[in-house]
Symmetry: C2
């Protein structure tokens, strides 16, 4: 349990009030971060149903596979448990729990529940359903002090990995070799595990979600390194820096990078309580547009972060949600030239009552490594 | 692409015929192993929709986030692509694809699609839906020669990790320390990444899904080590051995272990074309029951394995599916004494026309390590 039982009880209480205010009977959350947020329990995602039943009134119940009961008990879960044996039907058990509390009310279903669980739960229970995502986002978007500290810890850990990049990233090595070293460092610098590793060199730097390949890094390559892990407390890091693997920076790269950096810095500075999420996106996008690189910035500016790497709030055109103190999200504009090169700069920022706090603090310059 | 384009085209063709035979309009598969099975493309699972539309008739289309298009193209996908930009609605795009081919027909939805995608797809398309799982399982359950070879490669890789256990597992180390060494070895011995690592020592051995803890391993502890990874080709390994961390084996442990081993060996030998899955479970369970340990064997005997660690066929009471040549699954009975100790033995086996082939071939004895 990385969440104290007091925090979990408080969160469950707030969730129940939200369920009541929505006029729903209950929220049903399978293994995943919503469940971890409310109980501290990091359940195993599998075909065997784990389901937290959060009724508007009455006691929440955690339905779990019997073979995981010792693990849940060892983790110190304080919720009432209902283990099910391998030949029982867990969906009927959840339906029975619903009948105890909320009869035919609408149920909110966790956004990342698998279709096979959704389908079987609805068949067993017969209730109308809606997505629980917006309700859960209202709870999860504003990080409390402990969560902000956990995100800062994750940010500092990934900053330490970036600070060591010169040990691994050099011409003659493949992206995959560099990626393996990074993976190890993500753990040794303070994460429970590495969550994703992008080493996009040369033309691969123009592919925003490229991961690793056997491409040999060449002197002078622009290399986008976008990496993140999950700490033992369950919080995510996510930071991108762009490097030059030895050699000289061409003036065209220096030129577009300067625009990118100005856009990223301006978007970070724009963060303050009350600003609509899409205005932060527009801050970065306008600078890039005005420099003529608009068509080369093909993704949103950022995403919320917490127990999930990507969660609300999304920093994207069309999202007019006002940013509040406690919200944490990435600011990560990129400029890409397909087949040639690209660059991205990403920091996680926390909105505070005083304005913005960057949780990644390494230099945002284009970093030349080696000779 | 780990699947050749010929294999992918053949699989897509078989999937389309199955969709037509089911009387459905199309199957919709989001990022995950069903999609990988049919296209070779290992899509990133995220809030951004990736969706393969497999109509009964007409051309399949892969709807992808625009920022991932360079990656999909680099991977050599041969399916028609429909990238969507960050401010487009991908669900409306999928609905448009459905209208081209299958109007109001039932759609099959991939079993592991997230609820948020299910909900938005159904809102946009308005079609009735069913789970695509049974249809996909019919395609995926019988492994072809290339898949059997890939599973054998994964099995040999994890066997090599178990063979090195004496290097890491010894009294005085924590489960977590041992787990980190295992994680590294899973990669160096031939996987792309480690998927799960259970090191259950002493009383933790009685918790079947225990992962790792800071418990210090003691001399004489029974230690269950259940580990697996995913190879570059995407196929999974999963094998359990039970060790004694130095010290002497007590006669009660030796006694129940002998029963467990007899049950596991008998269940492996029972595998042959035509046997119902539940009879393999019963083979192991009867031996354990007769020795008086029935209440201590609290989970099914096994699960299918392939691109997923757990997939059809499940070796469980109530599943009368006849096993066929090409099916691959685990045989993993366990005997657990809560608060004290436990043991499990797990091999992946492949049913062939000649009978069973074990894909894990290390000794199934209780293995004493160190002094």
């Amino acid at each position: 349990m990385t969440t104290t039982s007091t925090a979990a009880a408080d969160r469950l209480g707030r969730a129940q009030r939200a369920v009541a205010e929505a006029g729903w009977g209950a929220v049903l959350l399978s293994a995943g971060t919503d469940l971890r947020y409310l109980t501290g329990y990091n359940a195993h995602v599998s075909e065997r149903l784990t389901c937290l039943v959060v009724p508007a009134d009455g006691e929440p119940v955690l339905v779990i596979p019997e073979l995981e009961a010792p693990m849940v008990e060892a983790a110190g879960a304080t919720t009432e448990l209902r283990p099910w044996a391998e030949t029982e039907n867990p969906f009927a058990i959840v339906a029975g729990q619903l009948r105890k509390t909320s009869a035919a009310g609408t149920v909110g279903i966790g956004n990342r529940m698998w279709a096979e669980h959704v389908s079987q739960l609805l068949s067993a229970a017969g209730n109308p359903w809606e997505l629980a995502g917006p309700l859960m986002a209202q709870l999860r978007m504003r990080k409390d002090a402990a969560e902000a500290a956990a995100l800062l810890e994750a940010g500092e850990a990934i900053d330490r990995v970036h600070a060591r990049m010169g040990q691994w990233l050099r011409p003659g090595r493949t992206e995959r070799e560099v990626g393996r070293d990074i993976a190890e460092a993500i753990v040794t610098e303070g994460h429970e595990h590495a969550e994703f590793i992008i080493v996009g060199s040369g033309p691969n730097a123009a592919s925003p979600h490229h991961l690793l390949s056997d491409r040999v890094i060449d002197a002078g390559d622009v290399v986008v390194v976008d990496i993140g892990g999950i700490t033992e407390a369950g919080y995510c890091s996510d930071s991108t820096r762009t490097y030059i693997a030895g050699g000289v920076v061409s003036s065209e790269v220096a030129d577009f990078y300067a625009v990118l950096q100005a856009a990223q810095v301006a978007a970070c500075q724009a963060v303050a309580p009350g600003i609509p999420a899409e205005d932060i996106d527009a801050t970065a996008r306008n600078i890039i547009d005005e420099a003529g690189y608009g068509p080369n910035f093909i993704h949103r500016t950022g995403h919320g972060i917490g127990l999930d790497v990507h969660e609300d709030p999304y920093i994207v055109s069309g999202n007019n949600l006002p940013i509040e103190a406690g919200m944490a999200f990435s600011i990560e504009p990129g400029i890409y030239f397909p087949g040639r090169y690209g660059a991205r700069i990403e920091d996680i920022v926390l909105c505070t009552t005083e304005g913005v706090r960057r949780l990644n603090t390494g230099s945002r310059d284009l970093i030349s490594l080696g000779a």
